[in-house]
């Protein structure tokens, strides 16, 4: 009886650890594959061959070809580079920016805090994708502008989180001891605040990778992201959408790639959250 109640949490922790390793490995492989995607393509993803246009899947072209005769498998593989790295860049950017703003607000307080947080509220009040659409439309297409547009609407979430976490840290008794040790605010933030608030922010970022990937693909699908002929999953789906009835594989392939990547990152995010959850500690 006793033994069971003592061991039960440990087993679930071990399983969680295995899960964490597994999904980290899968995500790392995906990122690695995206990085070296250039060398993994069986064909040149840009090479057009009209004689092969709209071919069905075959031994040579596992996913068939699009309407310019480009090998779909190669394009999906090559597309991973833009899709995955622009997502990671976007999430990294808003995480860092939001955290800096949030911690700064909590530390500065007074009117600076009020002004920045009202600004964050304003951005939060806009319907996200519509605002991103407007920004992307004003700035013109291109991956960079799509990232910028989504960053503009996504940083407030991180700023709010970082701010509330920092305020909570400031209330803790150890903060008084640290202040008495004569540490400068910058040192306190670097050495004490950031390590203590990193967990929840990191989890939010991990869980956001999937959402951001879909939103970036969405902007590209609407023609406001990556510009053809650069392979990118969202724009590939938009490119081939009128073939959906006759040759569904050319549309479904990039769609499935998005689905798979989003799922991997979401599962990893979930696992990291469970791992860091104090309830699952020890």
């Amino acid at each position: 009886m006793n033994e069971v109640s003592v061991r039960a949490p440990k087993i679930s922790r071990d399983r969680l650890k295995k899960k964490l390793y597994f999904f980290s490995l899968v995500a790392a492989l995906l990122i690695l594959a995206a990085f070296f995607s250039e060398y993994l393509c069986p064909y040149d993803p840009y090479a057009q061959d009209m004689s092969l246009a709209k071919a069905a899947p075959s031994a040579q072209h596992l996913l068939g070809t699009d309407r310019y005769g480009r090998d779909m498998l190669s394009r999906v593989i090559a597309g991973s580079f833009t899709s995955i790295f622009s997502t990671l860049a976007l999430v990294g950017f808003i995480t860092v920016l939001g955290t800096i703003i949030g911690v700064f607000c909590a530390w500065a307080g007074k009117w600076i805090d009020t002004v920045l947080m009202r600004l964050a509220d304003m951005f939060l009040a806009f319907p996200g994708l519509v605002f991103a659409l407007a920004v992307a439309a004003v700035l013109g297409g291109g991956v960079h502008n799509a990232i910028f547009a989504l960053a503009a609407i996504s940083w407030p979430k991180y700023a709010r989180l970082a701010r509330s976490q920092t305020l909570a840290q400031q209330e803790l008794p150890y903060m008084q001891a640290v202040r008495m040790a004569g540490s400068s605010p910058l040192k306190i933030i670097r050495k004490h605040v950031l390590p203590n608030i990193a967990g929840p922010i990191l989890v939010t970022a991990m869980l956001d990778i999937g959402t951001m990937m879909i939103e970036l693909a969405g902007l590209s699908f609407l023609g406001l992201g990556a510009k053809p002929p650069i392979p990118e999953w969202g724009s590939m789906m938009s490119d081939t959408r009128n073939l959906l009835a006759t040759q569904p594989w050319v549309t479904l392939a990039p769609g499935f790639a998005i689905f798979l990547s989003v799922m991997i990152f979401n599962l990893l995010g979930d696992t990291v959250r469970d791992w860091l959850d104090p309830k699952n500690r020890r």
Partner: protein
């Protein structure tokens, strides 16, 4: 006698949202002389910790003035406050909470040394020395606060407060989690430092016997006010106020 600390007419009102404002400290004045050991006693909630936090500037005063070593620090900030903390350190009431859960005890103790110009290696060596001085095994410097016992954490907190050799040490229930032998060791360490470096102590404590043994002078707090003051023998043997008598009777 030269004064290391002087508090004049301190007042602190806690104003939390819609609740009644709470007068936690009311017109408290006292001084601590150089090399003097002053005890602050009083029932739970009488405002002892609040007084400690006011004079260490961890809480802002509502009214009053604080002088440390002749300089007013009531509104000191930045560098000036850092200088003040060089002369004044505190051991907090809840030792485990007073360490960053993500830093080891060794890091916690070394932090003030590093902030005051010690190189990393020097700070490490000094940390080991301080821990030994306070009766801690040096291996504990790699432990996190939740990995050690309350008493060990309390000794680490004392080591940290002593690190930069302050002139004034404020101990808020600093020996409450220690057993009698360790407590005696710490008290003799504090006594030695007092003789050698002429350190001063403000000693917040519930243990009347310890106060009588260790302190020169006693301040008695009740409902945010100092109601009685005198030498340890006077106050404990012949208390003037009923409240003090009750306080002494309840623990003896």
């Amino acid at each position: 006698m030269e004064k290391i600390l002087e508090a004049r007419h301190l007042r602190k009102v806690f104003q939390a949202g819609s609740r009644e404002p709470l007068l936690a400290v009311d017109d408290v004045s006292f001084a601590v002389g150089a090399g003097e050991k002053v005890a602050l006693i009083g029932e739970s909630g009488s405002g002892k910790s609040t007084v400690a936090k006011l004079i260490t500037r961890l809480l802002a005063v509502t009214d009053g003035q604080i002088f440390l070593d002749g300089e007013e620090i009531t509104r000191a900030r930045g560098m000036k406050l850092k200088q003040a903390y060089r002369k004044m350190q505190m051991v907090f009431q809840s030792p485990v909470d007073s360490f960053d859960p993500r830093c080891t005890l060794g890091d916690g103790i070394a932090e003030s040394l590093r902030n005051h110009g010690y190189a990393k290696a020097e700070a490490g060596a000094e940390t080991a020395r301080l821990m030994e001085l306070c009766g801690l095994r040096p291996e504990l410097s790699d432990c996190y606060p939740y990995e050690v016992s309350g008493g060990q954490c309390q000794r680490a907190a004392i080591a940290r407060a002593l690190a930069i050799r302050p002139k004034l040490l404020i101990l808020d229930e600093a020996t409450s989690a220690l057993d009698v032998t360790v407590q005696a060791e710490i008290m003799s360490l504090l006594n030695r430092l007092q003789r050698e470096l002429s350190m001063s102590y403000l000693f917040i404590c519930h243990d009347i016997a310890l106060v009588q043994d260790f302190c020169d002078r006693v301040l008695v707090m009740h409902n945010g006010r100092i109601v009685e003051e005198g030498t340890a023998d006077e106050v404990i043997r012949h208390p003037q106020k009923k409240y003090t008598q009750m306080l002494i009777d309840s623990v003896l």
